[in-house]
């Protein structure tokens, strides 16, 4: 069968970042995820598509939800899965990244899902090893599957992404979720506004075509969707400077509690990439509010990751047939 390339195929061989994806790619991932979402609601939530594919999950940085979400997605697709985390491995004995990965690939692994603390680690790996790479977060750079599932959740809740006003609140400086989200939402035609302490706002970020607002109440009045990012405690003070005086002050100025939410006077959709610091970014009453789609995001995460793995695996040539 020698049909020419058309839009039923991704334009990329690896998922390194949103930056490399076309609008057609993102729409294809969403369409495919619709199918997997239905699979996830079946009594038996498993399809045989990837049963001849082996996937290694390499987590060089701690993660619970992303790792579990990827692992579930892989298992629902019938792939064989090996997990690897840096603690207690040869990485702590001084092995390089390429050596670590090549050792794993020598055991015939087809795809690698990697979380790494260094920006660009996924791109670097894709150039030096012979496997499909899925970036599950590289430092403060990108986290493409999170951005895809966020945009997918908005599309599910509001029926579209184009023209929707999305507010991203919080630690933009340290957030790979923010960067991937901005790129993804802009690509799909949404309007994006950022809000947070000026110390957590990267310089020249407005060059990405986003609005800036430092007053959360004004920003909330503008938006349809508010994505409340997690304060990345582990990355604060990387440069030896504290970026905000205290969590309490952050919560007062940039946290969303029920009183502030009610003041907006419209049904703003609440999102959070997790894990939530309850009482900091959002209070429990807001996190569990009817307009919160935080748990839908988690559910959609598995469907989106299944779609990404399925579409990337489709591009792996078969061997020995």
């Amino acid at each position: 069968m020698s049909t020419a390339v058309h839009s039923d195929q991704l334009s990329v061989e690896h998922l390194l970042g949103i930056k490399e994806l076309t609008t057609a790619d993102i729409e294809l991932i969403f369409r495919t995820a619709d199918g997997f979402k239905e699979v996830l609601n079946r009594p038996i939530k498993k399809v045989p598509s990837l049963r001849d594919i082996t996937i290694a999950n390499l987590f060089f940085e701690s993660s619970t939800r992303t790792r579990v979400s990827f692992e579930l997605a892989e298992k629902r697709l019938s792939a064989d899965v090996v997990n690897f985390s840096s603690s207690g491995s040869s990485v702590s004995k001084g092995e390089t990244l390429v050596d670590t990965v090549n050792n794993i690939l020598a055991m015939k692994v087809d795809m690698v899902v990697m979380r790494h603390p260094d920006p660009g680690a996924a791109v670097f790996l894709s150039r030096h090893v012979d496997a499909r790479i899925v970036n599950a977060g590289d430092g403060t750079h990108e986290h493409p599957t999170q951005a895809l599932l966020d945009a997918y959740s908005i599309r599910e809740k509001l029926g579209k992404v184009k023209g929707v006003k999305v507010l991203i609140v919080g630690d933009i400086l340290h957030s790979r979720v923010a960067l991937s989200n901005i790129l993804c939402l802009k690509q799909l035609g949404a309007e994006v506004m950022l809000c947070g302490p000026s110390t957590l706002m990267p310089r020249h970020i407005e060059d990405l075509g986003v609005r800036l607002e430092y007053d959360l109440d004004k920003a909330l009045a503008w938006c349809d969707v508010a994505n409340m990012l997690r304060i990345q405690m582990e990355r604060q003070g990387d440069d030896g400077v504290s970026n905000f005086p205290s969590l309490r002050e952050y919560a007062m100025r940039y946290g969303l509690d029920l009183e502030r939410y009610k003041r907006i006077g419209k049904d703003v959709v609440i999102m959070h990439p997790g894990p939530i610091n309850r009482g900091v970014e959002v209070t429990s009453q807001v996190a569990d509010h009817a307009n919160s789609i935080i748990l839908d995001q988690v559910e959609n995460g598995v469907a989106i990751r299944m779609a990404v793995l399925y579409l990337l695996a489709a591009r792996i040539p078969r061997q020995g047939v």
């Binding site: 619709d34 079946r42 009594p43 399809v47 001849d52 399925y310 579409l311 489709a314 078969r318």
Partner: protein, 197 residues
Amino acid sequence: MSAFPILTAKAFGLTVGRLCYQLIEDHGNLEGVALIGLQPRGILLARRLRTELGRITGTQEFRYGELDITFHRDDFRHRATPLAPSATQLDFMLDGRKVVLVDDVLYTGRTIRAGLDALLAFGRPASVQLLVLIDRRFSRELPIQPDYVGKWVDSIGEQRVTVEWKEIDGADQVLLHAADNDGLNSTTFAQGTSADR
């Protein structure tokens, strides 16, 4: 490419009607039957049958669903591009039900194999039967046979059979398309490579 009608609108309607009566003959008032159309084109026949059966029996004792088999296909990574999935609408369990799988054309049998595989994700049916509008017998690649057939077509591999529907194509008819340089009466039995969908 020349197209030759093998079922025109009138015969088409009669055939669908006959399939309904055959189902009623075998299953009485259709209690416990689950009629399941296979995406993408089998659902058009299944929807037609649902309407007709409801009209004939006056009640609707059977359950109805639509099943997408994309993720169960055996040609994933054999094709140049993956197929985009269609919607599955199946909001009941199949445990103990008499399933009738519905598709428009039975050709190699691979779609039906995938359909059987996909069905098992919804429970353990009491039985599974296969109903097709067109059976291209002699083209099978798997040991799968239909229980109800609208019309048999003994075509060679290079010919294509398409089923057109009033709802989307403008008219109910079944067409036999000859291969480009190959008349309808040709007897060259080449190995077919194209699927019907």
